[in-house]
């Protein structure tokens, strides 16, 4: 009779004897996978949105009057003194007018009576596309507004800033829920297996006496841990996908959520989450088993 058969038979027997507590463990593991994956998914999508926002981010510095080339050079140096930037572009009154006209498209006849210089000249500053420059966009705008000759500075409003603050908050929650996942999986599984060991001490002692090897005794418990991890991850991620899909359906159509494309985890992330969950549950059952077999 092969080892694999013996292990599967014992796993099956364990399940028949303790299916209720195994189910409880499974639900706990699934729930913590779900909670962790939920926040992680939110975080990833926010990063995604952040990327898109960051891509469009530019500060517009409105000037009192059109700068002569020499002044342009001075202003450029002053801007670069704060931080490196992606691009600095001077927009003259005429250019601003032209742009506005093309933006209006078919409605451009409303501009017919306006003087061509009614728009102020400006400097467009495109910050570097990284999180740091996004985080200090407010400081940057304050700096720019103090440059001589500026009327005001405009950028994607301060909700960008709040958005990044929120992203950081979510990242903290992700870390915390990862901790929760680790604690619950390892401790629940190891606690459950310790209970099983206590409940079946007599049988396990007898198995040792009739010559069962350590692997004969412990492998079924390790397999149980692996199954808990795998099924827990599957159940948790499947319900998260259900929720995700439901939200997507519910809010599809015109609405603010529709501006952004929400996406679920890619296959590598799903596999990673499953592997981590399996390893954690395996660790739990291994630690209990080792404690028992050592004595």
């Amino acid at each position: 009779m092969s080892f694999v058969f013996a292990v599967l038979r014992q796993v099956f027997r364990n399940f028949r004897q303790t299916w209720l507590s195994q189910l409880m463990t499974l639900l706990t593991v699934s729930l913590s996978v779900f909670i962790f994956a939920f926040f992680y998914l939110v975080y990833l999508n926010m990063l995604n949105i952040g990327d898109k926002l960051g891509y469009d981010l530019r500060l517009i510095v409105y000037l009192e009057e059109e700068p002569i080339p020499e002044l342009q050079e001075q202003l450029r140096r002053k801007i670069l003194a704060f931080d490196e930037v992606e691009e600095i572009h001077f927009v003259s009154r005429a250019e601003a007018f032209e742009r506005f006209k093309t933006q209006l498209g078919e409605d451009q006849d409303v501009l017919e009576d306006m003087p061509e210089d009614f728009l102020p000249p400006s400097i467009e500053v495109v910050p570097l596309k990284n999180l740091r420059s996004l985080n200090q966009v407010k400081l940057f705008s304050e700096y720019l507004s103090k440059l001589p000759g500026t009327i005001k500075v405009q950028y994607g409003q301060d909700w960008i800033e709040r958005f990044y603050y929120f992203t950081r908050l979510v990242s903290i929650i992700v870390v915390l829920s990862a901790g929760l996942l680790i604690l619950t999986s390892v401790f629940m599984v190891s606690y459950k297996i310790r209970l099983t060991i206590i409940g079946r001490k007599e049988e396990l002692e007898l198995l040792k006496l009739v010559g069962a090897t350590h692997s004969y005794i412990s492998t079924p418990f390790l397999v149980e841990g692996i199954l808990q991890g795998l099924l827990g991850a599957t159940l948790g991620l499947t319900s998260l996908f259900g929720l995700f899909y439901w939200i997507k359906m519910k809010f599809s159509g015109p609405g603010i959520l529709n501006i952004f494309e929400f996406s679920f985890f890619g296959p590598p992330t799903i596999v990673m989450i499953a592997i981590v969950s399996i390893l954690l549950c395996l660790t739990g059952s291994y630690s209990s088993m080792r404690k028992y077999l050592r004595t």
């Binding site: 007599e202 007898l206 009739v210 010559g211």
Partner: protein, 232 residues
């Protein structure tokens, strides 16, 4: 003399066992049991019979002295090797150690499952053993529901199921009537005839009175030979 028949299956040299706090269960016991021999060990209650058997399967370690099974020092056998050694030793414990919430068949199967016997083989062997011990109708009963005498026979069946080289039986007939005792002894003698070394600890003089195997007596932890066995 053939060398094979003199191979020692069990070798004890000046073995003492002291239990905590200061109970001397065995004192300087030295015996040598040849492979294929059948030996009776008698002695009053508390004389150390069970202790002696426990030393042979490493359930207890000797306080002093050397215990060798089939040539290997029991102290040095560990882990996987200890498991393999125990698969070769069948023990019927005085307190049975049955799993009371399992059926008779499941209890007898355990030792065979541990050494990966095929399910069909296990099934057949269980059936034969139950017939030999007159337990056929108890195949699927929980051992917890059985009478003492029935439990005793299940314990013996489990000990011999895996065809071990060494069979240790502790008080096999304490709860049995004369007929059933006869069945049990017939089975043990049969196993001995087919090569197994058998050690029987017992108070029951009826089971060693009419046979000519070696008879040892423990008295206050010390070993005395009452009768020399005749090797076939």
């Amino acid at each position: 003399m053939s060398n094979q028949s003199t191979n020692a299956m069990v070798e004890l040299i000046k073995v003492s066992k002291t239990y905590h706090p200061n109970i001397q269960a065995l004192k300087d016991v030295s015996i040598s049991i040849r492979s294929g021999e059948m030996v009776f060990i008698t002695g009053r209650s508390g004389a150390g019979k069970t202790t002696l058997l426990k030393l042979l399967c490493k359930m207890e370690l000797p306080t002093r002295g050397l215990v060798e099974i089939d040539g290997s020092d029991i102290r040095k056998v560990r882990g996987r090797n200890l498991s393999y050694l125990r698969q070769q030793i069948g023990v019927a414990y005085q307190d049975f150690k049955l799993l009371t919430d399992r059926t008779v068949a499941q209890n007898i199967s355990i030792a065979m499952e541990v050494s990966y016997r095929k399910p069909q083989v296990i099934k057949k062997r269980v059936k034969t053993l139950l017939e030999e011990l007159d337990l056929t109708d108890k195949h699927s009963s929980m051992t917890g529901d059985l009478s003492r005498g029935e439990q005793q026979r299940v314990a013996i069946a489990r000990a011999v199921a895996n065809s071990p080289k060494l069979i240790l039986v502790d008080e096999p007939t304490g709860n049995l009537d004369a007929t059933t005792t006869g069945r049990v002894m017939d089975m043990l003698i049969g196993l001995n005839d087919s090569g197994a070394t058998v050690l029987i600890a017992t108070h029951d003089h009826t089971i060693y009175r009419d046979v000519d195997h070696r008879l040892l007596e423990l008295r206050g932890g010390q070993m005395h030979q009452l009768r020399d066995g005749v090797m076939q």
